[in-house]
C-alpha cells in the first residue's frame, strides 16, 4: 500500500451544538487525487479548513507526513507543504496579478522571482495579464489566478475548494490537464460539485453527509454504493 501523507482521526468541529464535522477518520494517499463530495452543507469546506488550519477542531487529531500538526497555526502548516485555495476567491484584488503570484513564490526564497512568477502565470494562461490589477480580472481568470497561487507554493498537498466553479468548459479542460500535470508529485484534495471533473480526475472519493463520512473508495465503488446514491446522487 502507498504511503499516507495525511491522516485525520476523530476529527470533529461543533458550532454551538451544530455538528459541522463529526468524528471523521480520513486518510490521504501520497500522489493521489482525492475528491471530497457531498451535498451543500455537508461540512466539506469546514473539514478542509480543519486540515489547513484556518479553523481549530473541537476534537480529533491531524497528522501530516507522520507529524502531529493538530495544534500548528495555518501559516506553519503551509510552510510544511499544505496549500489551500479558497472557495470564495481570495486574491489581492488591489495588487497586480504579478504580485499575487510573486507573494506565493517569494516566501520560499527565490533567486529568479521574476522568471518563476511569469512561468507560473504562463501555466494558467495569465502571463499577458501580469500588470493588470487582479480585482479587474474576469471571474474565471480570478479562479485561475487563485489556482496559480496554490500551485506556485509548490505544496506537497494542494487543497482545492471548488476550483472549477464559474469556469467555462474550455477552462475546465485546461484545469484538468493542469492537475494531471502536477500529480503525482503533488497530492491533491479536491472539493468539487462538477461530477465530470471528479470522475475524470479522482483516484479516491470520499462522501460527506451531515458532517459524517458516508463512504470512501474508488470512483467505481462510490458510484455503486447504495447509501451514496440515496444521499447524494439521487438514486
Amino acid at each position: 500500500m502507498a504511503a499516507i501523507i495525511l491522516s485525520a482521526r476523530g476529527l470533529t468541529k461543533h458550532y454551538d451544538g451544530i455538528k459541522a464535522v463529526e468524528a471523521v477518520d480520513f486518510d490521504l494517499t501520497t500522489g493521489q487525487v482525492h475528491a471530497l463530495i457531498g451535498p451543500n452543507g455537508a461540512g466539506k469546506t469546514t473539514f478542509v479548513s480543519l486540515l489547513s488550519g484556518r479553523i481549530a477542531p473541537s476534537a480529533g487529531t491531524i497528522r501530516f507526513d507522520g507529524i502531529d500538526i493538530t495544534r500548528l497555526p495555518a501559516h506553519s502548516r503551509v510552510a510544511r507543504g499544505i496549500a489551500y485555495t479558497f472557495q470564495i476567491t481570495s486574491i489581492y484584488a488591489n495588487l497586480p496579478v504579478f504580485d499575487n503570484v510573486a507573494l506565493a513564490i517569494q516566501r520560499k526564497g527565490s533567486k529568479r522571482l521574476q522568471a518563476e512568477t511569469m512561468a507560473a502565470l504562463s501555466r494558467v494562461g495569465l502571463a499577458d495579464r501580469a500588470d493588470q490589477i487582479a480585482g479587474t480580472l474576469a471571474y474565471g481568470h480570478q479562479r485561475l489566478l487563485e489556482i496559480a497561487m496554490g500551485l506556485s507554493m509548490r505544496p506537497r498537498l494542494l487543497i482545492l475548494d471548488e476550483p472549477t466553479q464559474g469556469l467555462a468548459n474550455s477552462e475546465i479542460e485546461a484545469f484538468n490537464a493542469l492537475i494531471r500535470e502536477v500529480t503525482p508529485q503533488t497530492t491533491v484534495l479536491l472539493i468539487e460539485h462538477n461530477m465530470d471533473v471528479v470522475m475524470d480526475l479522482a483516484d479516491q472519493i470520499t462522501v460527506l453527509n451531515f458532517g459524517e463520512m458516508l463512504a470512501t473508495g474508488t470512483p467505481a465503488e462510490i458510484r455503486a454504493n447504495p447509501a451514496v446514491q440515496t444521499a447524494y446522487l439521487g438514486g
Partner: protein, 311 residues
Amino acid sequence: MTRALALHIAVLVALFAAQYFLPPYHHTNIARIMVLAVFAMGYNIAFGYTGLLSLGHALFFAAGLYATGLGIELWGLSAGPALLLGLLAGVAIAAATGVLALRTGGVSFMIVTLMFAQAGYLTILYFGAYTRGDEGFVITRAARNLGGVDLSSDTPRYFAALILFGVGLLVNLALTRSNLGRSMIAMRENEERSRMLGYNPFRIKLTALVISGLYAGAAGAAYGVLFGYVGASFATIQYSILPLLYVLLGGAGTTLGPFLGALLMFYLIDISSGYTTAHLFVVGAALLVLVLFAPKGILGWVRDKGAKWLP
C-alpha cells in the same frame, strides 16, 4: 535608473539646492519638516503599507527624543552615542509595544497603542525630577556637536536633517521594492490570504512596527539634537495624530507622501495661525476637502490619475 528613483533623487537635490535660496526662517522650517517627515515615513510604513492604524507613535518619537536628551543631560554622553541610544530606544519601545498590542487588531490596536502612548506620557511626568515634566529641558549648545560640527547652527543643521531624510527616503523606497515590502502590503490587503500563503501575520506586522519605531526614534533623537529642546508635549496624543495627518494628506502608502504632507500641513498651520487663532479650524477644513475629493491623499490621487509607477 528608473523613473521612481530619478524622482526621489530629484527631490533630494531640490532640497539640497533650496538651502541657498531660502530665507533663514524657512531654512529652519524646512529642516524641521524634514525631521518630522522621517517620523511620518515611519508612521507610513506601519499605517500606509502594512495597514496598522496606530495612535501611539508619539511614544516612539518621545523614546528617541528622551533617550538622546537624557543621555546627554544625565549621563554626559556626546551627541553621537546619544543619537544612537535614541534610535535604539525607538526600536526597543516599538518592539515591546508591538509584542503586546499586535495581539489585537483594527480598532482595538488603535486603543491599545493610544493607551501605551498615554502611559509613556504619564511616565515622563511622573519622573519629573529627571525629565522636568511639562516644562522640559534644553540641550546645551556645547552638547549639540557631532564630530566637531556644531549642529545648532543653521547650515550644518539643515545638512544633518537632509542626510537623515535622504537615508530614510531611499531606505523606504528600497523597502517598498523588496520582498518584505511586498509581504507587508499583502498583510494590509488581505491578511487571511497571506496567512494561507504561509506568512506569519504577527511576525510581519511586528517587523513593520519595529522599522516604523526605528524611523520615529531616529526622528525624535535628531529633533532633540538639532533643535535642542526635549519636552513632554512631544509625547502627547497630538504627536501621534500629526504623522497620521501628514500621511493622509500626502498619500498613505506612497514614499513621498509623508514629506509632502508634512510640508503642506506645516505651512498650512504656520500661515493660517498668522491670520487667526482658530488655525485648527483651517486644518479641519483642509482635511474635509481632502476626504471628500482625494481620500487617498495627494500622491494617492496622482497615482490613480495615471502615475501608476509612483511608489
